[in-house]
Point group: none
DNA sequence: CATGAATGAGAGTTCATTCAT
DNA sequence: GATGAATGAACTCTCATTCAT
């Protein structure tokens, strides 16, 4: 009994260290990626500020890109849980659809602005890796489908879905950046501006 | 007299060579930046395809970033000349104002898509260097002033100028990218879509 | 009694495990050495395919070279036993002396060609470590003594023993390699060729 | 005139340095390869003992293997010249054929034993790279053809050419090694021993 | 004894930059 | 101003080895 207890204890301790180091590297990765950009960042940059030995990095990741993926994966799953637990009412019309999607997105990036900064500044890389990002919430193709469905069912107005697919992300993105960097806009204000602007844009152009 | 003539001649030759090499490096820089991205590009990459010696690079530029700036400067001044010589009628209303600005912008990037690709793919770098880009045409603060002026004079409707300043570039940008990469939209179609969408967006949101 | 029995039991188990792991490592070493060559092989390569932990390696060996020595030692002792138990008739003349030695050698390497491949491909290492190899059977100094003895006793002809000492191994070696790699020659055929060639060589050169 | 003279001078100086560095690296490579073996040698080992910067290595070679090839190429061309200038009489019979080939080979390796040591100790690598080595003189397939031709023409006896192809190199090799390492045998003595032994071996075994 | 994460030395290689020519 | 070899810092990555569990 003591035997197995000790085993579990030691196993836990080890797992803890292991988990801690992984977290250390990821946290350092976030900082470095925000400061230098993904392309300019080096594995050494990341490992340097952790205090770990250089070789240790490779016990956890094969490259900085894997760290990038891990950062997004971690964040995505975090968001995923939150979404599932925090069920929103099913949107009744296009306006509330937009409002729910956008406010959810803005809330998340407001909580973890660093991840958003990495995404925004390295959009190439992010799309190149086709990472399952938190932008899943605004994931264009996915949203497009929902909109098409809504139009079919007669719940949404007949907007230009291609235009929707093209324009939604950059508009929300630029307002989101303003929100995070200038810190003058609240999530609610930012949401309203986005919704208002997009709604008029889509409804006006038939 | 012959002396001085010779001097001038050789001086001219030098200027010519100097100018040629500068152009060579810039041209090579454009290719490399488009192909590899600014961050991944190296001075060696740039100099390699020019046939020049590596040391020669440093007679013209201190770093690849200076090449980047030169690329944009060259292009910006090119556009600038064009705009000044090619005076458009003064816009009478907000819609024609938008249409003129946007169509001018789209025409230029349609002619030199490479420069636009560099800008789009390396947006953080471009903004970090606060480069005087061809987007000068859509240069937010400049346009903002024009819009404010227009509103004051009662020629333009009282739109949300802050929203205008934030949202115009990303919207035009994303449609421009679609135009260049997919090659399905003509400059005119693209212009109309932008104008239509933005106009409704601004006019709808009081 | 039960106490001691249990002790013996556990001791045996340990010996068994220990022996098993040792065998595992040696077996893996053989594969790795054949595939990559001794110089290119790493401890990691060897331990990887055993399923053991990297640290476990050092409970048995200090380095890959020790594994190499162990491989040869194991094989040598295996051969040694076989030879002692399987007494051949004492050779009556030089030809049958050569035939017995060579056929014995070729039989062994035919059964364990991997070990022979390691030796052949890493000849410098093998000699550098002055490993007590299965070539003990053809171990030059040992054979030389036998030949000198045979000459003294008048049973063998007066051949050039220094030449014998130098030339026998490479000749047998190259034919052995042919036999193993091309798989066209039987052990018997190979033996005959060696014997024939060497015999003529030695007897011809007074 | 002075202009062009100076140019040539400076160009020569540069070429000289360049050539010197290449030679430096090759010389260092020879030492390192002899001491550590090709497999264990590192680029850093080679560059270390030259006093050059690490990066300089890569101005001349891509890898240590390229150095190895260069070593052999240099030596091979050196031998080639020598052979062409030093025409031997065409061999009249098999014995003189063997004697000429072997004495030529032994003379060369006697002059540059280091290269021979590299070849012998790293036979794998040498054959893997199918380097045009000085062993061209004993190049088996080439010699084999000559022997077959000689037999056809009735100048050489009908020996077993496959056995010849297999056995010649290792026999000469082992005696050559003895000659170089023990320094007791002269080239002439060594040649005679080889010729004598091989001749009897081949002629005896029909 | 077995485990396997941590370590840091060191290998290969690239690169921006200098500087003698 | 053009050249291009030399430089050495810095990067990626692997490895043998240790040691707490």
């Amino acid at each position: 009994m003591m035997e197995s207890e000790r085993k579990i204890e030691s196993s836990n301790k080890r797992e803890l260290t292991k988990s801690n180091n992984r977290s250390l590297i990821i946290a350092s990765g976030v900082n470095v990626f925000v400061e230098k950009g993904v392309a300019e960042a080096t594995v050494r940059d990341i490992i340097r500020s952790t205090g770990l030995a250089s070789g240790t990095f490779y016990n956890y990741f094969k490259s900085k890109e894997e760290v990038l993926v891990a950062i997004f994966d971690d964040f995505a799953s975090e968001i995923g849980e939150n979404i599932r637990s925090n069920k929103h009412a099913v949107p009744k019309d296009f306006e509330s659809f937009l409002r729910i999607k956008i406010s959810t997105f803005l809330n998340y990036i407001n909580n973890k602005p660093e991840i958003y900064l990495i995404m925004s500044n390295n959009h190439n890389l992010v799309t190149n890796f086709s990472i399952n990002t938190p932008q899943i919430i605004l994931e264009i193709d996915y949203l497009k489908e929902e909109v098409i469905e809504g139009i079919k069912e007669g719940v949404f107005p007949k907007i230009d879905v291609d235009l929707f697919a093209l324009v939604t992300r950059p508009v929300v993105d630029s307002l989101a950046q303003e929100m995070i960097l200038q810190k003058k806009l609240s999530v609610e204000e930012c949401t309203e501006r986005c919704v208002n602007f997009l709604l008029n844009g889509f409804l006006g152009s038939k």
